[in-house]
Symmetry: C2
C-alpha cells in the first residue's frame, strides 16, 4: 500500500475513534487510562501469545485486554460506565494479512445487561462510521466505498444465537457440530449474508472465564461476537460474572489458567481483582466489550489486509 493511501487510512482511524468517544461521552461513559504492563490479569484467552518481561525481578506481561481493570471501575464510578483505548499485544509469530503483534483496542464496561450492551456496541460502531462519512467522504469514495456500504453499519444489527449460526453454516455446506469454535471463514460467511451480525450465547468452554453463564442454560455464556463484512470477528463482548466464589472457580478451572500454571504462574496474580469481588457490597450486573479498531477500519474500507488498516503495521519481522 502506498504512503498516500496509508495516510488516508490514518485519517479514517482518527475520525472513527472520535465518533466512538463522542458516543461514549454522550452516554455518560468516563474515559480512563489503564496499565499496559500487567499481571496475568491482562490475559485474553490464549496465554501462549502474551509478551512478558522482567518487572523488577518478577514476571509481568503486556496487556491484551483491560476488561478486569475496567470492571472494577464500572462498579465504583457513579455513572457506572467507563471506556478506554489500549494497545493490545499478541506474541503472534504468523506474518500474514490477519495478525498484528500490537493493535488498538477500544474497550468499555458498564453496569447493565446484555440488551444495553449490544445497543452500546452498535451505536459506538455506527457513530464512528458516521463520523468518517461526515469528515472524509472523499476518502471513502477513493476506496470505492459507496453509500450502501456505509448504511449497513446503521443499527440495529442482526442477532443470531451460536446454535442458530451453526445450523445456518451447515446449510451453507460446512460441517460443524455444536461446541466447535467458529473460524474466520465461517464468520465471513455470516457477515456476508446478514451484514454486521451479533453471534450470541456461546458454549462456555469457548469463552473467557469472567463471562456470565446464561441462567436458563448454564453451559452457555451471555456473550456476543460482532461479525463484520469482509473481516469477521471485530468485537467480543459479554455480561460478566460478579459473584466472588463463582468467579474464582471459573478462573481456576479455565484452560487459560491451567496454561498459565504450566508457565509458572499462579492465582495470586488475580488477588487484587478477586479481593474486590469478595469484599464489595452489592455488586451489580455489568457488561463490556472490546472493539478491534483496525478490524472496523478494514471492514469499512474493504481492505484486503489488516496491515493496510494501520500506520505502523507490526509483526514478528516488522518493528520500528
Amino acid at each position: 500500500m502506498d504512503v498516500g493511501r496509508r495516510l488516508h487510512v490514518a485519517k479514517v482511524e482518527a475520525a472513527l475513534l472520535k465518533g466512538f468517544r463522542d458516543y461514549m461521552n454522550s452516554q455518560g461513559f468516563i474515559e480512563v487510562q489503564v496499565p499496559h504492563i500487567t499481571k496475568a490479569t491482562g490475559a485474553c484467552e490464549n496465554v501462549a501469545t502474551m509478551f512478558y518481561l522482567d518487572y523488577f525481578g518478577r514476571r509481568a506481561y503486556l496487556t491484551q485486554t483491560a476488561q478486569l481493570h475496567l470492571e472494577i471501575l464500572s462498579q465504583l464510578i457513579d455513572t457506572g460506565k467507563v471506556y478506554t483505548l489500549i494497545r493490545s499485544f499478541r506474541a503472534e509469530p504468523d506474518v500474514d494479512d490477519r495478525h498484528l503483534t500490537e493493535f488498538s483496542l477500544f474497550e468499555f464496561e458498564h453496569v447493565g445487561g446484555f440488551d444495553e450492551l449490544l445497543k452500546h456496541i452498535e451505536y459506538t460502531v455506527y457513530w464512528g462510521v458516521h463520523q468518517v462519512a461526515e469528515e472524509f467522504p472523499d476518502i471513502l469514495t477513493s476506496f470505492g466505498v459507496n453509500e450502501a456500504w456505509v448504511d449497513q453499519f446503521k443499527p440495529p444489527y442482526k442477532k443470531m444465537r451460536y446454535d442458530e449460526a451453526i445450523d445456518f453454516l451447515n446449510k451453507k455446506g460446512f460441517d460443524l457440530k455444536y461446541g466447535d469454535d467458529l473460524r474466520h471463514v465461517h464468520e465471513k460467511v455470516i457477515a456476508e449474508e446478514f451484514g454486521p451480525t451479533f453471534v450470541t450465547h456461546w458454549p462456555k468452554h469457548l469463552k473467557f472465564f469472567n463471562m456470565r453463564e446464561d441462567p436458563e442454560n448454564p453451559s452457555e455464556v451471555v456473550s456476543a461476537d460482532l461479525e463484520l463484512p469482509l473481516v469477521g470477528e471485530s468485537v467480543g463482548s459479554a455480561e460478566r460474572e460478579y459473584r466472588y466464589q463463582r468467579l474464582y472457580d471459573r478462573l481456576v478451572e479455565s484452560d487459560m489458567y491451567k496454561m498459565l500454571v504450566e508457565y509458572g504462574g499462579d492465582v495470586s496474580d488475580w488477588d487484587w481483582y478477586l479481593e474486590f469481588w469478595k469484599t464489595i457490597e452489592n455488586p451489580r450486573l455489568h457488561s463490556g466489550c472490546g472493539i478491534g479498531v483496525s478490524r472496523v477500519v478494514q471492514s469499512l474500507l474493504g481492505l484486503d489486509s489488516v496491515k493496510h488498516a494501520v500506520v505502523y503495521p507490526m509483526d514478528r519481522l516488522s518493528i520500528y
Copy 2:
C-alpha cells in the same frame, strides 16, 4: 487517597484529554496510533530506564516517547500535524511521590517552528483545563481549586531562557552554574514565581539528540520545558533537526547512544528513521512536544503526589 477522590481525579483526567484533543482537532492535527513495542527508537534520554523484552529472539523496548514515529508522519501527512496519546514506560525503581513506571503522555508534532510550537502547547493545556472547569466545576471546588488558580493556565505563559533561569535561581539563593541541569526544586521555584513558565534554549548536552541547534548559538538547542506550579517540568518540547548527516552525527555522539552501545545496541535500530531523512526530498522544519498528562492533573488539582493523579498508580511494588 480514598476511592471517591480517585474517581474524581479520573473524571478530571478524562475532561483534560477531551480538551487536548478538541484543541488539536480544531487546528487540523490528525490523531494517530503508534507502536508501544519499539526498537531503541522509543528511548528518551535515559536508556537505563527502558523496559526491554524478547521480541521473537531480538531485544525490543517499551516506548518512552513516540516523537521519532510522529516526526515522519508530520512530514508526510498533508496537514503537517499529528498527535497521539501513548503510555510511556520507565523502569524507575524509586517508590515515591514523583515517579510512575507507566504514565500517559500526550504528544504532538507539526511542520512549523518554535513560536507556533509554544502557542500550541499553551492552548492545548488551556483547552484541557478549560474543559475540566466547564464539565466538573464541583470537583474543582472539592479539591479547593478556585478561579484564580484555574486562570493562571490561560495563555500566554511566561518565557524565560535557560541562562535567565539560572540567574533568577541564583538570585533566589541557589548556587547554579551555566550547564547545570535544573532539578525539581528549581523548576518549582520558577513556576511558583511566574506561574506556568517555558524555560527555553537549553545547553545542547542536557537535551535529546534530535533537538535543533540554535543557529545563533549552536551550543544551545531550540527547546522549551514547561514548568507548572507545584510540579515543575510537565512538558518537554523542541524544534527538531531534520538534516540527515547532522541527525546521524548528533545521535551517535549522544550520551544516550553511548549508553545503548554499552547495553549491546547499535545504530541499526534507527535505520528506518535515518533512512527516511536521508531520502526525503525537501524536509521541512518541524517541532513537537510531550505533555505529561498526570503532571497537568496534579498541578491543576494541587495534589501532593503524582500517584494521586492516576487511577492505577504503578511503581516497582504496585502492579495490577
